[in-house]
Protein backbone atom coordinates (compact mmCIF):
# COMPACT_ATOMS: atom_id res chain seq x y z
CA UNK A 1 0.00 0.00 0.00
CA UNK A 2 1.65 3.22 -1.21
CA UNK A 3 -1.17 5.67 -0.52
CA UNK A 4 -0.17 8.47 1.88
CA UNK A 5 -2.31 8.84 5.01
CA UNK A 6 -3.17 12.48 4.13
CA UNK A 7 -4.73 11.56 0.77
CA UNK A 8 -8.38 12.69 0.71
CA UNK A 9 -11.02 11.47 -1.70
CA UNK A 10 -12.70 14.49 -3.30
CA UNK A 11 -15.00 12.58 -5.67
CA UNK A 12 -15.25 9.12 -7.19
CA UNK A 13 -12.08 9.67 -9.25
CA UNK A 14 -10.33 12.71 -7.73
CA UNK A 15 -7.89 12.31 -4.84
CA UNK A 16 -6.07 15.16 -3.15
CA UNK A 17 -2.93 15.69 -1.09
CA UNK A 18 -3.36 18.93 0.89
CA UNK A 19 -0.64 21.60 1.08
CA UNK A 20 0.14 20.37 4.60
CA UNK A 21 1.38 17.08 3.09
CA UNK A 22 4.83 18.46 2.32
CA UNK A 23 6.76 21.55 3.29
CA UNK A 24 6.77 24.07 0.48
CA UNK A 25 3.63 22.92 -1.33
CA UNK A 26 1.91 26.01 -2.74
CA UNK A 27 -1.22 24.26 -4.00
CA UNK A 28 -2.82 20.87 -3.33
CA UNK A 29 -1.79 17.92 -5.51
CA UNK A 30 -4.57 16.02 -7.24
CA UNK A 31 -4.52 12.54 -8.71
CA UNK A 32 -7.20 11.25 -11.06
CA UNK A 33 -7.84 7.56 -10.41
CA UNK A 34 -10.40 4.94 -9.50
CA UNK A 35 -10.14 3.29 -6.08
CA UNK A 36 -8.30 0.36 -7.68
CA UNK A 37 -5.90 2.55 -9.68
CA UNK A 38 -5.04 4.79 -6.72
CA UNK A 39 -3.95 1.76 -4.73
CA UNK A 40 -1.80 0.60 -7.65
CA UNK A 41 0.00 3.96 -8.03
CA UNK A 42 3.77 3.98 -7.51
CA UNK A 43 4.88 5.67 -4.30
CA UNK A 44 6.90 7.87 -6.67
CA UNK A 45 3.70 9.45 -8.07
CA UNK A 46 2.68 10.86 -4.67
CA UNK A 47 6.23 12.04 -4.03
CA UNK A 48 6.64 13.65 -7.42
CA UNK A 49 3.21 15.26 -7.83
CA UNK A 50 3.58 16.90 -4.40
CA UNK A 51 7.07 18.10 -5.42
CA UNK A 52 5.52 19.72 -8.50
CA UNK A 53 3.12 21.57 -6.16
CA UNK A 54 6.15 23.44 -4.72
CA UNK A 55 7.16 25.07 -8.01
CA UNK A 56 6.97 28.89 -8.10
CA UNK A 57 3.89 30.30 -9.80
CA UNK A 58 1.87 27.07 -9.89
CA UNK A 59 -1.86 27.67 -10.17
CA UNK A 60 -4.78 25.83 -8.56
CA UNK A 61 -3.43 22.21 -8.39
CA UNK A 62 -0.54 19.99 -9.42
CA UNK A 63 -2.25 17.15 -11.29
CA UNK A 64 -1.44 13.56 -12.15
CA UNK A 65 -3.55 11.56 -14.59
CA UNK A 66 -4.75 7.95 -13.96
CA UNK A 67 -2.01 6.44 -16.16
CA UNK A 68 0.51 8.24 -13.94
CA UNK A 69 3.69 6.56 -12.88
CA UNK A 70 7.12 7.33 -11.59
CA UNK A 71 9.00 9.67 -13.90
CA UNK A 72 11.73 12.20 -13.20
CA UNK A 73 10.87 15.62 -11.82
CA UNK A 74 7.18 15.47 -12.73
CA UNK A 75 5.52 12.06 -12.67
CA UNK A 76 4.59 10.71 -16.09
CA UNK A 77 0.98 11.92 -16.34
CA UNK A 78 1.85 15.22 -14.65
CA UNK A 79 0.14 18.53 -15.38
CA UNK A 80 0.94 21.97 -13.96
CA UNK A 81 -0.02 25.48 -15.07
CA UNK A 82 2.22 28.36 -14.06
CA UNK A 83 1.55 32.06 -13.97
CA UNK A 84 3.95 33.22 -16.68
CA UNK A 85 4.68 36.43 -14.75
CA UNK A 86 5.70 34.90 -11.44
CA UNK A 87 6.22 31.29 -12.42
CA UNK A 88 8.85 29.01 -13.88
CA UNK A 89 9.36 26.77 -16.87
CA UNK A 90 10.86 23.34 -16.11
CA UNK A 91 12.24 20.78 -18.60
CA UNK A 92 11.29 18.13 -16.01
CA UNK A 93 7.67 19.12 -16.58
CA UNK A 94 7.96 18.38 -20.28
CA UNK A 95 10.28 15.41 -20.50
CA UNK A 96 13.31 14.49 -22.57
CA UNK A 97 11.25 13.29 -25.52
CA UNK A 98 9.71 16.68 -26.26
CA UNK A 99 6.37 16.39 -28.11
CA UNK A 100 6.36 12.65 -28.05
CA UNK A 101 2.82 12.13 -29.33
CA UNK A 102 0.32 10.06 -31.29
CA UNK A 103 -1.51 10.20 -34.56
CA UNK A 104 -4.59 8.34 -35.69
CA UNK A 105 -5.17 7.87 -39.41
CA UNK A 106 -8.32 6.51 -41.01
CA UNK A 107 -8.70 4.23 -44.01
CA UNK A 108 -11.83 3.06 -45.80
CA UNK A 109 -10.48 -0.50 -45.85
CA UNK A 110 -12.16 -3.22 -43.82
CA UNK A 111 -10.45 -5.85 -41.68
CA UNK A 112 -11.67 -8.46 -44.18
CA UNK A 113 -9.83 -6.65 -47.00
CA UNK A 114 -6.63 -6.18 -45.00
CA UNK A 115 -6.33 -9.59 -43.30
CA UNK A 116 -5.15 -11.52 -46.42
CA UNK A 117 -2.35 -8.97 -46.88
CA UNK A 118 -1.65 -8.27 -43.21
CA UNK A 119 1.79 -9.94 -43.09
CA UNK A 120 2.86 -8.14 -46.24
CA UNK A 121 1.55 -4.86 -44.88
CA UNK A 122 3.34 -5.11 -41.54
CA UNK A 123 6.54 -6.40 -43.18
CA UNK A 124 6.52 -3.45 -45.59
CA UNK A 125 5.82 -0.91 -42.85
CA UNK A 126 8.66 -2.46 -40.86
CA UNK A 127 11.00 -2.27 -43.85
CA UNK A 128 10.04 1.29 -44.80
CA UNK A 129 9.79 3.03 -41.41
CA UNK A 130 13.17 3.02 -39.66
CA UNK A 131 12.91 1.63 -36.12
CA UNK A 132 15.21 0.75 -33.26
CA UNK A 133 18.34 2.16 -31.64
CA UNK A 134 20.45 4.30 -33.96
CA UNK A 135 17.99 4.18 -36.85
CA UNK A 136 18.41 6.84 -39.52
CA UNK A 137 15.74 8.69 -41.43
CA UNK A 138 15.06 8.32 -45.12
CA UNK A 139 15.22 12.04 -45.80
CA UNK A 140 18.77 13.14 -46.33
CA UNK A 141 19.45 16.75 -45.51
CA UNK A 142 22.16 19.11 -44.46
CA UNK A 143 22.26 20.32 -40.90
CA UNK A 144 21.31 23.84 -42.08
CA UNK A 145 18.15 22.48 -43.74
CA UNK A 146 17.33 20.79 -40.45
CA UNK A 147 17.26 24.22 -38.82
CA UNK A 148 14.40 25.08 -41.20
CA UNK A 149 12.60 21.87 -40.25
CA UNK A 150 12.69 22.71 -36.54
CA UNK A 151 11.46 26.25 -37.13
CA UNK A 152 8.68 25.25 -39.53
CA UNK A 153 7.57 21.78 -38.35
CA UNK A 154 4.80 20.33 -40.51
CA UNK A 155 4.88 23.44 -42.74
CA UNK A 156 8.29 22.29 -43.96
CA UNK A 157 6.67 18.93 -44.78
CA UNK A 158 3.88 20.65 -46.73
CA UNK A 159 6.41 22.65 -48.76
CA UNK A 160 8.42 19.53 -49.50
CA UNK A 161 5.56 17.24 -50.53
CA UNK A 162 5.24 15.18 -47.35
CA UNK A 163 1.94 16.62 -46.12
CA UNK A 164 -1.48 17.87 -47.16
CA UNK A 165 -3.09 21.04 -45.87
CA UNK A 166 -5.65 18.84 -44.11
CA UNK A 167 -2.83 17.08 -42.21
CA UNK A 168 -1.70 20.46 -40.88
CA UNK A 169 -5.27 21.45 -40.01
CA UNK A 170 -5.62 18.25 -37.95
CA UNK A 171 -2.43 18.95 -35.95
CA UNK A 172 -2.20 21.20 -32.88
CA UNK A 173 -1.15 24.73 -33.94
CA UNK A 174 -1.11 23.56 -37.56
CA UNK A 175 1.97 21.43 -36.84
CA UNK A 176 4.19 24.40 -35.98
CA UNK A 177 4.50 26.12 -32.61
CA UNK A 178 5.27 29.75 -33.45
CA UNK A 179 8.34 31.36 -31.88
CA UNK A 180 10.78 28.49 -32.44
CA UNK A 181 14.17 30.08 -33.06
CA UNK A 182 16.97 27.77 -34.17
CA UNK A 183 19.56 30.11 -32.66
CA UNK A 184 18.46 28.76 -29.26
CA UNK A 185 19.50 25.18 -30.03
CA UNK A 186 23.01 23.74 -29.76
CA UNK A 187 25.01 22.41 -32.68
CA UNK A 188 25.18 19.16 -30.72
CA UNK A 189 21.37 18.93 -30.74
CA UNK A 190 21.34 19.49 -34.51
CA UNK A 191 24.01 16.84 -35.09
CA UNK A 192 22.15 14.40 -32.88
CA UNK A 193 18.89 14.79 -34.73
CA UNK A 194 19.26 15.88 -38.33
CA UNK A 195 19.61 12.35 -39.70
CA UNK A 196 16.61 11.04 -37.73
CA UNK A 197 13.68 12.68 -39.51
CA UNK A 198 11.17 9.94 -40.30
CA UNK A 199 12.27 7.48 -37.61
CA UNK A 200 10.09 5.74 -35.08
CA UNK A 201 12.69 5.07 -32.36
CA UNK A 202 12.33 2.30 -29.79
CA UNK A 203 10.94 1.68 -26.31
CA UNK A 204 7.21 2.36 -26.24
CA UNK A 205 7.22 3.85 -29.74
CA UNK A 206 5.30 1.91 -32.33
CA UNK A 207 3.07 1.96 -35.37
CA UNK A 208 -0.06 -0.16 -35.08
CA UNK A 209 -2.77 -1.29 -37.47
CA UNK A 210 -6.11 -1.49 -35.67
CA UNK A 211 -9.73 -2.39 -36.31
CA UNK A 212 -12.84 -0.50 -35.21
CA UNK A 213 -15.27 -3.31 -34.47
CA UNK A 214 -18.96 -2.24 -34.39
CA UNK A 215 -19.42 -3.59 -30.85
CA UNK A 216 -16.56 -1.34 -29.68
CA UNK A 217 -18.22 1.91 -30.70
CA UNK A 218 -19.18 3.59 -27.45
CA UNK A 219 -20.49 6.93 -28.73
CA UNK A 220 -21.92 6.56 -32.22
CA UNK A 221 -22.38 10.28 -32.89
CA UNK A 222 -18.83 11.17 -31.93
CA UNK A 223 -17.45 8.17 -33.83
CA UNK A 224 -19.33 9.38 -36.92
CA UNK A 225 -18.04 12.92 -36.43
CA UNK A 226 -14.45 11.66 -36.18
CA UNK A 227 -14.90 9.57 -39.36
CA UNK A 228 -14.56 6.25 -37.61
CA UNK A 229 -17.52 4.42 -39.02
CA UNK A 230 -17.37 4.83 -42.77
CA UNK A 231 -17.25 1.03 -43.11
CA UNK A 232 -17.84 -1.80 -40.61
CA UNK A 233 -14.62 -3.25 -39.13
CA UNK A 234 -12.77 -0.22 -40.43
CA UNK A 235 -8.96 -0.38 -40.41
CA UNK A 236 -7.11 2.55 -38.83
CA UNK A 237 -3.45 3.27 -38.09
CA UNK A 238 -2.13 4.67 -34.82
CA UNK A 239 1.46 5.61 -34.22
CA UNK A 240 3.55 6.98 -31.38
CA UNK A 241 6.91 8.74 -31.57
CA UNK A 242 8.61 12.04 -30.76
CA UNK A 243 11.48 14.41 -31.39
CA UNK A 244 14.17 11.71 -31.20
CA UNK A 245 17.79 12.54 -30.33
CA UNK A 246 17.28 16.20 -31.17
CA UNK A 247 14.64 16.74 -28.48
CA UNK A 248 16.59 14.64 -25.99
CA UNK A 249 19.65 16.83 -26.47
CA UNK A 250 17.62 20.07 -26.18
CA UNK A 251 16.22 18.84 -22.85
CA UNK A 252 19.65 17.79 -21.57
CA UNK A 253 21.28 21.08 -22.64
CA UNK A 254 18.70 23.18 -20.80
CA UNK A 255 18.48 20.92 -17.74
CA UNK A 256 22.20 21.60 -17.26
CA UNK A 257 21.82 25.32 -17.92
CA UNK A 258 18.92 25.63 -15.45
CA UNK A 259 20.85 23.70 -12.78
CA UNK A 260 23.68 26.19 -13.11
CA UNK A 261 21.55 29.37 -12.84
CA UNK A 262 18.48 28.38 -10.85
CA UNK A 263 19.79 28.91 -7.35
CA UNK A 264 22.90 30.98 -8.08
CA UNK A 265 21.19 33.59 -10.25
CA UNK A 266 17.49 33.36 -9.35
CA UNK A 267 17.53 32.06 -5.76
CA UNK A 268 15.08 29.26 -6.57
CA UNK A 269 15.41 26.21 -4.32
CA UNK A 270 13.80 22.96 -5.42
CA UNK A 271 13.26 19.58 -3.78
CA UNK A 272 14.47 17.46 -6.73
CA UNK A 273 17.16 18.38 -9.26
CA UNK A 274 15.01 16.96 -12.08
CA UNK A 275 12.65 19.87 -11.37
CA UNK A 276 15.40 22.32 -12.39
CA UNK A 277 13.67 25.44 -13.69
CA UNK A 278 14.10 29.10 -14.48
CA UNK A 279 11.70 32.03 -14.32
CA UNK A 280 9.62 31.90 -17.49
CA UNK A 281 10.49 35.49 -18.34
CA UNK A 282 14.24 35.11 -17.69
CA UNK A 283 16.66 34.94 -20.66
CA UNK A 284 17.27 31.25 -19.89
CA UNK A 285 13.55 30.50 -19.55
CA UNK A 286 12.73 32.20 -22.84
CA UNK A 287 15.62 30.47 -24.64
CA UNK A 288 14.42 27.07 -23.43
CA UNK A 289 10.82 27.90 -24.42
CA UNK A 290 12.06 28.66 -27.93
CA UNK A 291 14.36 25.58 -28.08
CA UNK A 292 11.53 23.39 -26.77
CA UNK A 293 9.31 24.69 -29.58
CA UNK A 294 12.03 23.68 -32.06
CA UNK A 295 11.84 20.15 -30.64
CA UNK A 296 8.02 20.26 -30.71
CA UNK A 297 8.22 21.15 -34.40
CA UNK A 298 10.78 18.43 -35.11
CA UNK A 299 8.37 15.89 -33.59
CA UNK A 300 5.44 17.17 -35.68
CA UNK A 301 7.61 16.93 -38.81
CA UNK A 302 8.83 13.47 -37.79
CA UNK A 303 5.30 12.11 -37.39
CA UNK A 304 4.26 13.85 -40.61
CA UNK A 305 7.04 12.26 -42.65
CA UNK A 306 6.20 8.86 -41.15
CA UNK A 307 2.55 9.39 -42.10
CA UNK A 308 3.68 10.08 -45.67
CA UNK A 309 5.56 6.77 -45.66
CA UNK A 310 2.56 4.89 -44.24
CA UNK A 311 0.44 6.29 -47.06
CA UNK A 312 3.01 5.13 -49.63
CA UNK A 313 3.03 1.60 -48.20
CA UNK A 314 -0.78 1.33 -48.17
CA UNK A 315 -1.03 2.86 -51.61
CA UNK A 316 1.49 0.40 -53.13
CA UNK A 317 -0.05 -2.64 -51.48
CA UNK A 318 -3.71 -1.85 -52.13
CA UNK A 319 -3.14 -0.29 -55.59
CA UNK A 320 -5.02 2.91 -54.84
CA UNK A 321 -4.07 6.45 -53.98
CA UNK A 322 -4.09 7.55 -50.32
CA UNK A 323 -7.16 9.69 -51.15
CA UNK A 324 -8.97 6.72 -52.66
CA UNK A 325 -8.11 4.74 -49.52
CA UNK A 326 -9.57 7.54 -47.34
CA UNK A 327 -6.27 7.96 -45.47
CA UNK A 328 -7.27 11.05 -43.53
CA UNK A 329 -5.76 12.01 -40.23
CA UNK A 330 -8.18 12.16 -37.30
CA UNK A 331 -5.78 14.18 -35.15
CA UNK A 332 -2.25 14.48 -33.81
CA UNK A 333 -1.94 14.74 -30.04
CA UNK A 334 1.19 15.89 -28.22
CA UNK A 335 2.22 14.40 -24.86
CA UNK A 336 5.27 16.32 -23.68
CA UNK A 337 4.93 20.08 -24.08
CA UNK A 338 4.60 23.42 -22.35
CA UNK A 339 2.30 25.94 -23.96
CA UNK A 340 0.76 29.33 -23.28
CA UNK A 341 -3.01 28.90 -23.14
CA UNK A 342 -5.89 30.97 -21.82
CA UNK A 343 -7.93 29.38 -19.04
CA UNK A 344 -10.48 30.46 -16.44
CA UNK A 345 -8.94 31.22 -13.05
CA UNK A 346 -11.27 32.63 -10.36
CA UNK A 347 -13.87 33.50 -13.01
CA UNK A 348 -11.53 35.50 -15.23
CA UNK A 349 -9.60 34.33 -18.24
CA UNK A 350 -5.86 34.29 -17.72
CA UNK A 351 -2.85 33.30 -19.79
CA UNK A 352 -1.03 30.33 -18.24
CA UNK A 353 2.02 28.25 -19.11
CA UNK A 354 0.62 24.71 -19.07
CA UNK A 355 3.17 21.92 -18.65
CA UNK A 356 1.93 18.51 -19.78
CA UNK A 357 4.27 15.59 -19.30
CA UNK A 358 2.94 12.23 -20.41
CA UNK A 359 -0.52 13.75 -20.60
CA UNK A 360 -2.70 14.99 -23.43
CA UNK A 361 -4.43 18.28 -24.12
CA UNK A 362 -8.16 17.52 -24.26
CA UNK A 363 -10.00 20.69 -25.23
CA UNK A 364 -13.76 20.58 -24.85
CA UNK A 365 -16.39 21.62 -27.40
CA UNK A 366 -16.23 25.22 -28.58
CA UNK A 367 -12.72 25.94 -27.38
CA UNK A 368 -10.47 28.18 -29.47
CA UNK A 369 -7.64 26.33 -31.17
CA UNK A 370 -9.70 23.36 -32.33
CA UNK A 371 -10.33 22.84 -36.05
CA UNK A 372 -13.78 23.90 -37.22
CA UNK A 373 -14.85 20.26 -37.75
CA UNK A 374 -14.25 19.48 -34.05
CA UNK A 375 -15.84 22.60 -32.57
CA UNK A 376 -19.03 20.72 -31.67
CA UNK A 377 -17.40 17.45 -30.61
CA UNK A 378 -14.38 18.58 -28.60
CA UNK A 379 -10.83 17.49 -29.37
CA UNK A 380 -10.16 13.92 -30.47
CA UNK A 381 -7.88 12.29 -27.88
CA UNK A 382 -5.85 9.26 -28.87
CA UNK A 383 -4.96 6.92 -26.03
CA UNK A 384 -2.46 4.21 -26.92
CA UNK A 385 -2.83 1.07 -24.85
CA UNK A 386 -0.23 -1.65 -24.68
CA UNK A 387 0.40 -3.45 -27.97
CA UNK A 388 -1.58 -6.46 -26.71
CA UNK A 389 -4.63 -4.89 -25.18
CA UNK A 390 -6.06 -2.24 -27.48
CA UNK A 391 -6.34 1.53 -27.53
CA UNK A 392 -9.03 4.20 -27.36
CA UNK A 393 -10.28 7.24 -29.16
CA UNK A 394 -11.80 9.74 -26.73
CA UNK A 395 -13.14 13.28 -26.95
CA UNK A 396 -12.35 16.28 -24.75
CA UNK A 397 -15.17 17.43 -22.44
CA UNK A 398 -16.34 20.87 -21.41
CA UNK A 399 -15.96 19.84 -17.74
CA UNK A 400 -12.16 19.47 -17.89
CA UNK A 401 -11.29 23.02 -16.78
CA UNK A 402 -9.87 22.15 -13.34
CA UNK A 403 -7.14 20.04 -15.00
CA UNK A 404 -6.59 22.69 -17.71
CA UNK A 405 -8.43 20.48 -20.22
CA UNK A 406 -5.94 17.65 -19.96
CA UNK A 407 -6.35 13.89 -19.88
CA UNK A 408 -4.32 10.66 -19.83
CA UNK A 409 -1.92 9.66 -22.60
CA UNK A 410 -1.79 5.87 -22.46
CA UNK A 411 -2.06 2.92 -20.12
CA UNK A 412 0.88 3.73 -17.87
CA UNK A 413 3.37 1.14 -16.70
CA UNK A 414 2.90 -0.91 -13.56
CA UNK A 415 5.93 -3.17 -14.00
CA UNK A 416 9.51 -2.04 -14.47
CA UNK A 417 11.20 -2.84 -17.76
CA UNK A 418 13.68 -5.06 -15.92
CA UNK A 419 10.90 -7.02 -14.24
CA UNK A 420 8.98 -7.34 -17.53
CA UNK A 421 12.06 -8.84 -19.17
CA UNK A 422 12.36 -11.35 -16.35
CA UNK A 423 8.70 -12.35 -16.71
CA UNK A 424 8.32 -12.44 -20.51
CA UNK A 425 10.33 -13.63 -23.49
CA UNK A 426 10.06 -11.49 -26.58
CA UNK A 427 10.08 -14.35 -29.12
CA UNK A 428 7.42 -16.29 -27.19
CA UNK A 429 5.33 -13.15 -26.78
CA UNK A 430 5.52 -12.55 -30.53
CA UNK A 431 4.26 -16.11 -31.23
CA UNK A 432 1.51 -15.86 -28.60
CA UNK A 433 0.34 -12.55 -30.00
CA UNK A 434 0.21 -13.94 -33.51
CA UNK A 435 -2.04 -16.75 -32.30
CA UNK A 436 -4.33 -14.05 -30.91
CA UNK A 437 -4.43 -12.28 -34.26
CA UNK A 438 -1.76 -9.60 -33.73
CA UNK A 439 1.23 -9.79 -36.09
CA UNK A 440 4.25 -7.96 -34.62
CA UNK A 441 7.61 -7.12 -36.17
CA UNK A 442 10.35 -5.81 -33.91
CA UNK A 443 14.00 -4.86 -33.93
CA UNK A 444 14.49 -6.18 -30.43
CA UNK A 445 12.90 -9.14 -28.64
CA UNK A 446 14.19 -7.66 -25.37
CA UNK A 447 12.38 -4.43 -26.17
CA UNK A 448 9.24 -6.39 -27.09
CA UNK A 449 9.25 -8.22 -23.74
CA UNK A 450 9.47 -4.87 -21.94
CA UNK A 451 6.27 -3.76 -23.68
CA UNK A 452 4.16 -6.82 -22.77
CA UNK A 453 0.54 -5.99 -21.99
CA UNK A 454 0.85 -7.24 -18.42
CA UNK A 455 3.51 -4.57 -17.72
CA UNK A 456 0.82 -1.90 -18.15
CA UNK A 457 -2.25 -0.75 -16.26
CA UNK A 458 -5.68 -1.81 -17.46
CA UNK A 459 -6.47 0.67 -20.25
CA UNK A 460 -10.25 0.27 -19.75
CA UNK A 461 -9.93 1.39 -16.13
CA UNK A 462 -7.68 4.31 -17.07
CA UNK A 463 -10.04 5.75 -19.69
CA UNK A 464 -13.09 5.14 -17.50
CA UNK A 465 -11.43 7.14 -14.71
CA UNK A 466 -10.84 10.07 -17.08
CA UNK A 467 -14.50 9.94 -18.13
CA UNK A 468 -15.82 9.85 -14.56
CA UNK A 469 -13.53 12.77 -13.74
CA UNK A 470 -15.10 14.75 -16.62
CA UNK A 471 -11.84 15.02 -18.58
CA UNK A 472 -12.47 12.90 -21.68
CA UNK A 473 -15.31 10.82 -23.04
CA UNK A 474 -14.99 7.38 -24.62
CA UNK A 475 -15.75 7.27 -28.32
CA UNK A 476 -14.43 3.87 -29.44
CA UNK A 477 -12.10 1.07 -28.46
CA UNK A 478 -9.59 0.07 -31.13
CA UNK A 479 -8.29 -3.50 -31.43
CA UNK A 480 -4.76 -4.21 -32.75
CA UNK A 481 -4.11 -6.64 -35.60
CA UNK A 482 -0.53 -5.66 -36.50
CA UNK A 483 2.30 -3.68 -34.99
CA UNK A 484 5.84 -2.58 -35.77
CA UNK A 485 8.10 -1.82 -32.85
CA UNK A 486 11.57 -0.48 -32.42
Amino acid sequence: MNVPAELKRISETIWELPVSHKEGMLVPARIVASEKLIHEMDAGVFEQVSNVATLPGIQRYAYCMPDGHWGYGFPIGGVAAMDPGSGVISPGGIGFDINCGMRLVLTNLTAEQVQPKLHQLIDRLFARIPTGVGCQGFIKMKSDDFRSVVQQGSRWCLKNGFATQNDLDMTEEGGCFPGANASDISQKAVERGYNQLGTLGSGNHYCEVQVVQPQNIIDQDLADAFGLTTVPNQVVIMFHCGSRGFGHQVATDYLKLFLSVMERKYGIKIVDRELACAPFHSPEGQAYFSAMKCAVNMAFANRQVILHRIREVFSDLFHASPDELGMRMVYDVAHNTAKLERHLVNSSRKELLVHRKGSTRAFGPGMPGLPECYQKTGQPVIIGGSMETGSYLLAGMSTGGDAWFTTAHGSGRTMSRHEAKKNFRGDKLQRDMEQRGIYVRTDSFGGLAEEAGAAYKNIDEVVEATELAGLSKRVARLVPIGNIKG
Binding site: G71, G73, D97, A276, H418, S444, G446
Partner: protein, 143 residues
Protein backbone atom coordinates in the same frame (compact mmCIF):
# COMPACT_ATOMS: atom_id res chain seq x y z
CA UNK B 1 29.56 -7.18 -9.86
CA UNK B 2 30.68 -3.68 -10.94
CA UNK B 3 27.15 -2.51 -11.78
CA UNK B 4 23.63 -3.64 -11.08
CA UNK B 5 20.31 -2.59 -12.57
CA UNK B 6 17.62 -1.57 -10.09
CA UNK B 7 13.88 -2.09 -10.47
CA UNK B 8 12.94 -0.16 -7.36
CA UNK B 9 13.59 3.40 -8.58
CA UNK B 10 11.81 4.03 -11.86
CA UNK B 11 9.33 1.83 -13.71
CA UNK B 12 9.41 3.32 -17.17
CA UNK B 13 13.15 3.97 -17.08
CA UNK B 14 16.30 2.04 -16.25
CA UNK B 15 18.25 2.66 -13.08
CA UNK B 16 21.63 1.26 -12.10
CA UNK B 17 24.19 1.41 -9.34
CA UNK B 18 27.84 1.22 -10.34
CA UNK B 19 30.82 1.06 -8.04
CA UNK B 20 34.61 0.84 -8.40
CA UNK B 21 37.81 1.40 -6.45
CA UNK B 22 38.76 4.49 -8.50
CA UNK B 23 36.83 7.32 -10.13
CA UNK B 24 38.24 6.33 -13.54
CA UNK B 25 36.97 2.77 -13.15
CA UNK B 26 33.60 4.08 -11.98
CA UNK B 27 33.28 6.06 -15.21
CA UNK B 28 34.12 2.90 -17.15
CA UNK B 29 31.52 0.78 -15.33
CA UNK B 30 28.80 3.45 -15.64
CA UNK B 31 29.53 3.71 -19.37
CA UNK B 32 29.23 -0.07 -19.79
CA UNK B 33 25.97 -0.11 -17.78
CA UNK B 34 24.57 2.64 -20.04
CA UNK B 35 25.60 0.94 -23.28
CA UNK B 36 24.31 -2.46 -22.12
CA UNK B 37 20.79 -1.00 -21.88
CA UNK B 38 20.99 -0.53 -25.65
CA UNK B 39 23.18 -3.45 -26.80
CA UNK B 40 22.59 -7.06 -25.69
CA UNK B 41 25.97 -8.42 -26.79
CA UNK B 42 28.50 -5.76 -25.89
CA UNK B 43 31.29 -8.34 -26.21
CA UNK B 44 30.64 -8.41 -29.97
CA UNK B 45 31.40 -4.70 -30.40
CA UNK B 46 34.66 -4.38 -32.33
CA UNK B 47 37.11 -1.58 -31.56
CA UNK B 48 37.15 -0.45 -35.19
CA UNK B 49 37.08 3.27 -34.44
CA UNK B 50 38.85 5.30 -31.79
CA UNK B 51 37.72 8.68 -30.47
CA UNK B 52 39.50 10.86 -27.97
CA UNK B 53 37.22 12.94 -25.76
CA UNK B 54 38.09 15.63 -23.26
CA UNK B 55 35.43 17.06 -20.97
CA UNK B 56 35.65 19.51 -18.11
CA UNK B 57 33.19 20.06 -15.27
CA UNK B 58 33.07 21.54 -11.82
CA UNK B 59 32.70 18.24 -9.93
CA UNK B 60 32.61 14.43 -10.28
CA UNK B 61 28.82 14.30 -10.61
CA UNK B 62 28.53 16.69 -13.51
CA UNK B 63 31.62 15.20 -15.15
CA UNK B 64 30.08 11.69 -15.19
CA UNK B 65 26.78 13.21 -16.37
CA UNK B 66 28.56 14.78 -19.37
CA UNK B 67 30.63 11.66 -20.02
CA UNK B 68 27.57 9.38 -20.25
CA UNK B 69 25.75 11.95 -22.38
CA UNK B 70 28.73 11.97 -24.76
CA UNK B 71 28.13 8.27 -25.44
CA UNK B 72 24.46 9.01 -26.21
CA UNK B 73 25.49 11.84 -28.54
CA UNK B 74 27.76 9.60 -30.63
CA UNK B 75 25.10 6.85 -30.70
CA UNK B 76 22.65 9.24 -32.41
CA UNK B 77 24.98 11.57 -34.32
CA UNK B 78 27.29 8.90 -35.74
CA UNK B 79 25.48 5.63 -34.94
CA UNK B 80 28.49 4.53 -32.89
CA UNK B 81 28.46 2.02 -30.07
CA UNK B 82 31.39 3.16 -27.96
CA UNK B 83 33.00 1.69 -24.89
CA UNK B 84 35.66 3.35 -22.80
CA UNK B 85 39.31 2.39 -23.14
CA UNK B 86 41.76 4.44 -21.15
CA UNK B 87 40.28 7.05 -18.81
CA UNK B 88 42.22 9.72 -16.98
CA UNK B 89 40.64 12.21 -14.58
CA UNK B 90 42.66 15.10 -13.22
CA UNK B 91 42.07 18.38 -11.41
CA UNK B 92 41.89 21.46 -13.63
CA UNK B 93 41.13 25.16 -13.33
CA UNK B 94 37.42 24.62 -13.85
CA UNK B 95 37.25 21.63 -11.46
CA UNK B 96 37.93 18.26 -13.06
CA UNK B 97 38.90 17.11 -16.53
CA UNK B 98 38.34 13.67 -18.01
CA UNK B 99 40.39 12.52 -20.98
CA UNK B 100 39.15 9.25 -22.40
CA UNK B 101 39.67 6.98 -25.35
CA UNK B 102 36.39 5.59 -26.67
CA UNK B 103 36.51 2.49 -28.83
CA UNK B 104 33.77 0.95 -30.90
CA UNK B 105 32.02 0.70 -34.22
CA UNK B 106 28.92 1.68 -36.13
CA UNK B 107 25.72 -0.16 -35.24
CA UNK B 108 25.50 -3.28 -37.41
CA UNK B 109 22.03 -4.80 -37.05
CA UNK B 110 23.24 -8.16 -38.36
CA UNK B 111 25.82 -8.51 -35.58
CA UNK B 112 24.60 -6.32 -32.74
CA UNK B 113 21.51 -7.33 -30.82
CA UNK B 114 19.98 -3.98 -30.05
CA UNK B 115 17.64 -3.41 -27.11
CA UNK B 116 15.98 -0.17 -26.04
CA UNK B 117 17.27 3.29 -26.87
CA UNK B 118 18.54 5.49 -24.06
CA UNK B 119 17.29 9.05 -24.47
CA UNK B 120 19.05 10.79 -21.62
CA UNK B 121 20.80 10.66 -18.29
CA UNK B 122 18.39 12.07 -15.72
CA UNK B 123 18.95 13.86 -12.42
CA UNK B 124 16.43 11.63 -10.63
CA UNK B 125 18.21 10.13 -7.58
CA UNK B 126 21.45 10.84 -9.42
CA UNK B 127 24.46 10.54 -7.16
CA UNK B 128 28.21 10.09 -7.37
CA UNK B 129 29.78 9.55 -3.96
CA UNK B 130 32.87 8.30 -2.18
CA UNK B 131 32.25 5.09 -0.27
CA UNK B 132 34.51 2.89 1.87
CA UNK B 133 35.54 0.76 -1.14
CA UNK B 134 36.10 3.70 -3.50
CA UNK B 135 33.34 5.31 -5.57
CA UNK B 136 29.69 4.63 -6.20
CA UNK B 137 27.16 6.11 -8.66
CA UNK B 138 23.37 5.84 -8.93
CA UNK B 139 22.04 6.71 -12.37
CA UNK B 140 18.53 6.71 -13.85
CA UNK B 141 18.43 6.64 -17.64
CA UNK B 142 15.39 7.79 -19.60
CA UNK B 143 14.50 5.11 -22.15
Amino acid sequence: MPFEYRSDIAHADVAFDAWAPTLEELFGEAARATMEVMVENLAEVRPAQTLEVKLEQENEEMLLFDFLNELLFYKDARRLILLPGEIEISPSDGGLTVRATLLGEEIAPTRHEMRTDVKAVTMLRYKVERVAQGWRATVVLDV
